[in-house]
């Protein structure tokens, strides 16, 4: 079902752990749908003076795909400018992993959403304006979380 690269990232996840003094934290998913992801970023500056993701960590409660996608998403995000990181899509994550089973592709959305929410949190904490696109994304992500809670129900009523 899962390819070797996915299994490698699941069994030995990179960037897993806490970051107590994080500049931004993204918390997405919920226990009802089964996946909860916390993503932490530290923001620094590159030689050109642009803000970049200097360090990134994650903690995930979730299945193999949730853990593997969070790990590789942090790896992809590291070193990127905030603009580049915000532009990352779940397709980037899936491609980097060499594919996911169709039923698991939604897990990759969670990882990218967590990253966006961490950047959102950083900008908010800094008292900086939120780009219109990111504001819209944040609204969608919050809505998705609520919907996931509403959708889970037993087979038989």
């Amino acid at each position: 079902m899962y390819n070797q690269k996915v299994m490698d990232y699941f069994l030995k996840p990179i960037n897993m752990g806490d970051m107590p003094d994080a500049d931004g934290v993204g918390e997405v998913g919920n226990v009802v749908c089964g996946d909860v992801m916390h993503l932490f970023i530290r923001v620094g500056k590159n030689p050109a003076g642009k803000e970049v993701i200097a360090d990134v960590k994650f903690k995930t409660l979730g299945c193999v795909a949730a853990i593997a996608t969070s790990s590789i998403a942090t790896e992809l995000a590291k070193g990127k400018t905030l603009e580049q990181a915000m532009a990352m899509t779940n397709q980037d994550v899936v491609r980097e992993l060499g594919g996911l089973p169709p039923v698991k592709v939604h897990c990759s959305v969670l990882a990218v959403d967590a990253l966006k929410m961490a950047i959102y949190d950083y900008l908010k904490k800094q008292g900086r304006p939120i780009p219109e696109k990111l504001e819209k994304e944040a609204q969608r992500i919050r809505k998705d979380t609520e919907n996931a809670e509403a959708h889970t129900h037993p087979h038989v009523e």
Partner: protein, 387 residues
């Protein structure tokens, strides 16, 4: 070390079963319906297997009707009885319960779409049906009650005796069916004592081959066939007889024994005791005592089932999970939800089902791996707080 703990999914074929089956693939390949020597040899094998199974259940040979497995037998029991109602221009009411196997639930749902009424009884936190609930669900038009003997996920054994009494006291004409796929040869099962009319059994959970099962049909029970054809199996189920499969099924039944059941129960109790004592927060799903001899099912809060399953797999241990992430529908197990487990605990469930060949050393190895992997997954979990 390799430890297979998914016997509730399927077992290997026992070497003696394989030996018993082998001649029927090659030399004794005849069609059991043929009159010549080849056919007669095949027929003899089928008769022997039927007798072995009938003996185990203390019933007549003619009451054992071979099928392609448990799913067919359950579908046939439910639809076959319902079709006898339709044939006389009636619909009516069926009673079942919420933790049945999907093949029972989906057969019932399909009948609902054809105008039948179905009641899905609730179960308690251990997965147990309350016979009193059943009593109040019975209506004048109720014609079938189907309640599984033991649950495939959590191993809870239903009080079939009380249920049978409630049914037949209310109305002796109501037929009583049980899906005994998980319990056959592991729990006492007697048609008469339990007031049963129909029992589903199968082969590949008891060291026999896949693709063969049976519906036990109490003599005189009216049932419309699902498969029409040459009138095999006393006119109940047409189709060329699966001689080697049936031969293996019979042999497997003859190998089952109280000693093997006791062995599995010892391992089960050891595993449950150690896991609950040594893994913080571990919960047992299912009934503490009214439970299949080979079933264990735990939830580990802060750990998702599929992730744990594949961590165990990396250590050579086979288990299964009720987590939504392991299913194509992405819904948590209906059994876990029916016993009132919160979604996060339903997603965290792991079933380890034991077999004859498992050992105490294997159980200890499994506990050590579990302890370590649960700890690791919790350390990366976003929701688990360190004690």
């Amino acid at each position: 070390m390799e430890v297979y703990l998914d016997h509730a999914a399927t077992t290997p074929i026992h070497p003696e079963v394989l030996v018993a089956m082998q001649p029927y693939f090659t030399e004794q390949f005849g069609n059991a319906s043929s009159l010549h020597k080849w056919g007669r040899e095949a027929r003899k094998a089928v008769d022997l297997a039927r007798e072995q199974i009938a003996d185990k259940l203390n019933i007549m040979c003619r009451e054992v009707i071979f099928t392609s497995g448990g799913t067919e037998a359950n579908n046939w029991a439910i639809k076959g009885v319902a079709f006898t109602r339709e044939a006389s221009g009636l619909k009516g009411h069926i009673i079942t319960q919420k933790t049945e196997h999907d093949c029972v639930l989906n057969a019932c749902k399909w009948l609902e779409s054809r105008g039948f009424a179905v009641t899905y009884l609730d179960v308690d936190e251990f997965g147990m049906v309350n016979p009193e609930d059943l009593k109040s669900a019975i209506r004048p038009e109720t014609f079938l009650v189907t309640i599984m003997h033991a649950n495939n996920e959590i191993g809870t054994v239903q009080p079939l005796k009380e249920i049978g009494q409630v049914i037949k006291t209310a109305n002796p004409a109501i037929l009583f069916h049980t899906d005994a796929c998980q319990s056959f040869t592991k729990e006492p099962l007697n048609l008469k004592d339990l007031n049963l009319d129909l029992i589903t059994i199968n082969s590949h959970k008891i060291y026999g081959p896949k693709g063969v099962g049976a519906l036990v049909v109490k003599q005189g029970t009216k049932l419309v066939p699902l498969l029409h054809g040459g009138g095999h199996e006393f006119g109940h189920r047409s189709g060329t007889i699966n001689v080697h499969g049936i031969m293996g099924f019979g042999k497997a039944v003859s190998l089952a024994s109280p000693e093997k059941n006791r062995h599995m129960q010892t391992l089960r109790d050891h595993l449950i005791k150690r896991v609950l004592a040594e893994i913080p927060g571990a919960l047992l799903n299912g009934h503490p005592t009214q439970r299949l001899v080979n079933n264990t099912n735990f939830s580990f809060p802060g750990v998702e089932g599929e992730a744990l399953l594949l961590r165990l797999d990396a250590h050579g241990i086979a288990a299964s999970t009720g987590s939504a992430c392991s299913s194509n529908t992405l819904e948590a197990s209906h059994t876990m939800m029916a016993i009132g487990r919160k979604p996060e605990l339903a997603h965290a469930s792991i079933r380890m089902s034991l077999g004859w060949e498992n050992t105490l050393e294997q159980m200890d190895y499994v506990v050590e791996v579990l302890k370590d992997e649960v700890k690791q997954l919790r350390s990366m979990s976003a929701t688990w707080r360190r004690e």
